[in-house]
Point group: C2
Chain length 684, copies 2
């Protein structure tokens, strides 16, 4: 055996689906040396995941990659319920709002997975200067061995993970199913066996195309059949249950007289249950209960499942409405079940994210979203650890924060799926079925969870709050003792500790332009202090705000700085000129309520709120007003953030936009800010 | 001499600046065989034109290429005026709104010309199926001869224009100024001589690199020194006047304590006049009056003009505020003057557009806008004539409609420039200078003109209206007798005949999504009937609307159909599936006011409003509601369009979105519609 080529990398990502690409995007924005490999020959071109929940869209927007999703996706604004009337004929029993209004600037939307994969790739490319080679997905590559050197696991400069990678030929990497039928999605469904063993078998004896990679971190984003999970050993196995229920899925351009075909619609009758997801490109996705097919306690006979059988079931459920199609873009089938694992990380060196640690049924449009949100949670922690900005132990918060979400998801999906598969009621009083009323109520209660906005992270050094419930702290690692900072939630009642900071529009002091505040706190690795300064035209209040500014000017230089990439301010277009100095890891944004014309940005407001750069001059992009413009109705941002104009508040944000501290502008505000940041950066 | 290679093309565009690229974009959307050549080696990378007026943004948006401008550009929302106080120190004398609020969803914005050139090129590429080679700009190509065969000029199938093109080497195509200083814009300013003669001289004897092109149409978009204009002869010469005033221009990232540096600002004091245009990338553009330099009745000595001299002038005008910079992106200088020509076309076979027929000073941000709007007016007329959908004589409306705009522009610019160059008043009562009050008033009166929204085209077959003024009809060619259709403007008071149809938001019946109505009437070559149907839940009104639908179903098939390109619906993302049939040249859109849930799109509304396609089924994208949603405040579209809910109206639109007909839903509405379209399509 010849010596294999060997190289080093900070982070190796295994799997280039939405979870892996989200992580690659984060790391590219942070300038961390990364590789991402995938066993498939190409990205997905049709079908697969399609639902974008509002929190996912906000996250994508924080990188500047939501615009194209928001433009191309179909938005699902209302939901319709159809049930049999006394004659057994389906009729609309209710129609109501789909996403809770006012929750976000986005609503639930639908676009096939291949598009978002492309947008991720474009977003990664935008992170690099034009004269640098951007991170690219290395396709047709599979890992064949993984080892962690436990002796150096805690050394921040070590590369303790060793992975062998095998580069495949096109033929080896092409699933046999793809060769026969391009639109068949079964080979990626949970009805299919894993194909890695087969691929490895076919590629035997090709050691010349192997290489060895030494990495600081490895992240398995390699899906339900995760090779990485298996390589980590038995204690990483997922546990859970499956039912016998089989559902079919079809993406078609429907030709139908059914009136609600462009609304998200649930139909239940004696022929079965069906969900309509209207999508882009005049398509709809149909989720169709297959009564003829059953897993029967074991594996299902896949040869029984054909598009013809799925479509006939759909037609029966649609009856008396007609349903035909000329175009079918994709189809698949799956068995309902829920599984998750107890361990998301080994030694904080190898991590699992997405389907590799939780699988469930697709009908609530959660899989891709929770997966992307997993690696969104992990990305900045790994990235800043690689850059020695954060101590390594912060990585333990990944499992703490995301395992709870996975368990909630599994519990939710179990309930939600059962509702769907319950026999439909003959009438509302039926005792055997799920009544329409119960179904609708359950549907609406689930909305806050499914949007992703409800996520509430536990107290740690990153989130200075008391535990919301006792069970919350069960898993808290000792090393992540709670923050010594003390928040005062009542100062900003709608900036909830542990939850994502919401976005409302504020006016830029320097040029009167209205901005979503989210667009001023993009995902570029920086922590934030949003200073709600109140009416700074009042001398007392102005002095309080400027005193905090003066303190920040002396404290922030003690914290690390961070180099920003070209796409670090993704809502402002091309960045052409270089700054003179790297900015602080903490970004300060001031939102006041004084009349705009009574404030002179340079004279009245402390320099901490408009920092000077030796090449670019003053920063005109850090001071905003909750007030009036000639062009739009006032947004009442203070009211919506739950901040009193008289008192103000300081809200501390993590790089992922979650609220970690709420304190006062004056009083002991500065002390709490220092405690919070010292607890994060200066612990070790 | 060897035989030159020869080829045919429908349209040859000379010049790939904004005017030429707009035309290329139109023609690519219409599927017309086009070539576009440019003498320069590359597109513009910095400086040049930068102002986007709201009508231009609406037009770009009608092709789906405004989004990136709107994102990257700096928006100018307020304007500030500074004048000397009694001590001669500049102080802010007024601050007010810049673009009239409510006029458009856009406001005046600033982005350098190179970006929009890139967006045009991307927009052109999107017009072609992925398996076709898109139209590309052929650079380093100059025309050397042009002839029109008058004998075949009126034959719609002939290629009567013959042009010889010369392909240059890199060295020949590079202006000597560019070799020495990349950021020097003087070589493109009106202080520079034309460089084509020099280029031709250098390329003598290279006939092997010439080719002959036979074209149906040739359009000269080749700028102030237009080769095409010269080739057309003496009667195409531009006339006008120049003053001796020279202004300098600099794009810098300013380091300054001047408070209004991010607002559009006019400063006038004894040191001179200056305008600040805040732009993208932390830059500002400064327009600076150069008192030291003068054209002195003849050509200016260009060696006197350096960035140092320009910047020193700026510093004097800014005083006592400080102004420095580290980055300068571009600079130039120009002499104030206005010129235009009497002829915009020869035999309706060769046309001139943009700077080739009107030049003026740049301070009002008009040049690029009027130029793009010229070729936006011309593009669909040439394109539909090439496809034999429109009779050729419609091309005469180009000169009729755009010459008036050019003359208005020249008159406006003369006045506007004088205002600027007037000596500043020592105090408001000064008799020698332009008082601040007069200046501000003039500035605000000009706003409707500068936005481009004020454009009002004359009566022709395309616009069924009476002449607004006597002089309006002076130039009317006999062949374009006024439309025999008769409009009733009072039915839709804010859909003004001859003006652009405004955009308000309406709700899609099929899925409750709110859309800008402009996004449903993109520039894809189709005429439109916007049927304001009123409350169709009332049987009488529904019958009236459906009777018109029935009539349309029998009339429209007598008109031509049009093949649509992949980007023909640019606000809906990727188009994946092919339609079964080409649609009619007339697109019908219904906007009603009935409660949404009381209308069943397929049952209650005539098929003319949701046409059936054999492959894609019913069209769910043609019926909209002025009503309520869960997510946004009602838009009150009927009120804003000036349409009564009880009566409704039908508004006929040209492919460029200008109102050509206003008539009734019932009564003689159908008769007027037929008269209007027959007058356009069936005249010959």
């Amino acid at each position: 055996m010849t010596e294999l080529p060997e190289s080093k990398v900070d982070v190796l990502i295994i799997g280039a689906g939405p979870a892996g690409l989200m992580l690659a995007l984060w790391l590219s924005r942070l300038g961390v040396k990364t590789r991402i490999v995938d066993k498939r020959i190409a990205k997905v071109y049709s079908g697969q995941a399609d639902g974008f929940q509002v929190r996912s869209l906000e996250i994508l927007d924080s990188f500047g990659v939501a615009e194209r999703v928001w433009k191309e996706a179909n938005r699902m604004l209302e939901v319709s319920f159809w049930n049999p009337d006394e004659n057994g004929t389906i009729q609309r029993s209710a129609k109501s709002v789909n996403t809770i209004p006012g929750l976000s600037r986005f609503t639930e939307s639908v676009l096939h997975q291949g598009r978002i994969e492309q947008f991720f790739i474009d977003g990664i490319r935008a992170s690099y200067p034009s004269n640098e080679e951007p991170l690219q997905v290395e396709r047709m590559v599979i890992p064949t061995s993984l080892e962690i050197d436990e002796a150096t696991a805690e050394d921040p400069d070590a590369y303790p993970v060793t992975v062998t990678l095998r580069h495949l030929t096109e033929e080896e990497a092409t699933p046999t199913q793809m060769l026969s039928n391009l639109s068949d999605g079964i080979f990626r469904s949970n009805l299919a066996e894993d194909d890695v063993a087969g691929i490895l078998d076919r590629s035997k004896g090709w050691e010349a195309r192997d290489e060895v990679v030494r990495a600081k971190y490895v992240v398995g984003c390699d899906g339900a059949h995760s090779w990485t999970r298996k390589a980590l050993g038995k204690e990483f196995e997922m546990k859970g249950e499956s039912t016998d229920a089989i559902w079919g899925v079809m993406d078609i351009v429907p030709i139908t007289d059914f009136p609600d075909i462009r609304f998200r619609t649930m139909i239940q009758n004696t022929a079965g249950a069906l969900m309509i997801i209207p999508r882009e490109n005049r398509m709809v996705r149909l989720y169709i209960q297959l009564k003829e097919v059953s897993a029967g306690g074991g594996r299902v006979d896949r040869s029984q499942i054909t598009p013809e059988i799925i479509f006939k079931s759909a037609q029966r459920i649609f009856s008396p409405y007609k349903l035909e199609y000329h175009y079918c873009d994709w189809w698949t089938a799956y068995q309902i079940g829920q599984r998750t694992g107890d361990n998301f990380s080994k030694l904080n060196r190898v991590f699992l994210a997405g389907d590799a640690v939780h699988t469930h049924s697709p009908k609530a449009g959660q899989g891709m979203n929770i997966s992307m949100q997993d690696s969104y949670n992990l990305g900045w922690k790994i990235g800043l650890a690689c850059k020695n900005i954060l101590p390594r132990d912060v990585l333990s918060t990944y499992e703490l924060e995301r395992k709870k979400i996975a368990k909630d998801l599994i519990a939710f999906d179990g309930k939600f799926s059962k509702l769907f598969t319950g026999a439909p009621p003959k009438d509302i009083q039926s005792e055997t079925g799920v009544s329409d009323d119960v179904f609708q109520k359950a549907f609406h209660t689930s909305r806050m969870f499914t949007t992703g906005v409800g996520v509430n992270y536990q107290p740690t050094v990153l989130v200075a709050k008391e535990a919301d419930t006792v069970s919350d702290t069960d898993d808290l690692p000792n090393i992540l003792v709670k923050s010594v900072a003390k928040s005062t939630q009542s100062l900003a009642t709608n900036c909830k500790l542990g939850q994502r900071f919401p976005s409302y529009k504020v006016i830029r002091q320097s040029d009167a332009r209205l901005w979503e505040l989210h667009h001023k706190i993009p995902s570029n690795g920086r922590f934030r202090l949003v200073v709600f300064g109140g009416d700074i035209s009042q001398p007392t209040q102005r002095n309080t705000v400027n005193a905090l500014g003066a303190w920040l000017s002396s404290y922030l230089p003690k914290l690390p700085t961070i180099a920003l990439c070209p796409a670090s301010d993704p809502h402002s277009g091309e960045i052409k000129f270089k700054t003179g100095e790297d900015p602080s890891i903490v970004d300060v944004v001031l939102v006041h309520t004084a009349p705009r014309d009574e404030v002179d940005l340079l004279k009245d407001v402390h320099e901490a709120y408009h920092p000077f750069d030796s090449k670019l001059g003053w920063d005109y992009d850090k001071v905003f007003v909750d007030g009036e413009t000639f062009y739009e109705e006032p947004e009442r941002a203070y009211e919506r953030y739950g901040v009193a104009k008289g008192e103000g508040a300081v809200v501390g944000l993590r790089p992922d936009g979650y609220v970690g501290l709420v304190t006062s502008v004056g009083g002991d505000g500065a002390e709490q800010i220092q405690k919070w940041f010292d607890g994060i950066f200066q612990r070790s």
